[in-house]
Chain length 69, copies 2
DNA sequence: CTTGATAGTGCATTATACTGCTCTTTTTGT
DNA sequence: ACAAAAAGAGCAGTATAATGCACTATCAAG
């Protein structure tokens, strides 16, 4: 699945902010279990879960026109 | 939920391409039922569902730094 | 080596997304 | 107004995301 890049981006962002999964789970309102699954590539998170995490990380989901190359 | 904007963007994009829900469901591989629910604001779609639709509409999901205003 | 912090996994339960079928409502074109 | 097309909703079944608990693995600091 190509959207794994998006997941990785979330994880990278968390790490660059030096926030633990535990902390991110707390401030985002997403369960620690769900976050762990997601970051370890096991998941197909819902938009709500993604939004909560993005929000907590100072990011936002957006749709962009695909660059045709 | 603020991510309703994202849903609306998908719907607007479909309409601007003059594609019916029926057709989009077919080409994206998402069930018509799920698409209808989503566009009518009832849903909390999974990343996979979003990705399929975005892909079919020539869009892509991305994460952006939130502009603090 | 031991301790503590962080990350990942197995299992079971609950909630809900996805699906197909059918029917109703709304919109569009003539 | 009528008919056709498109959108939306009710219901039921299946698949799976989210959750909590307990356990293991990895790593760094002492």
């Amino acid at each position: 699945m190509h959207y794994q890049a998006l997941i990785k981006q979330l994880k990278d962002r968390r790490e660059s902010l030096q926030v633990t999964q535990d902390t991110l789970a707390e401030i985002s309102g997403v369960s620690l279990r769900a976050l762990k699954q997601l970051e370890s590539g096991k998941g197909n998170p819902t938009l709500e879960t993604l939004s909560k995490l993005a929000e907590a990380l100072g990011l936002e989901l957006s749709l962009q026109l695909k660059t045709n190359r």
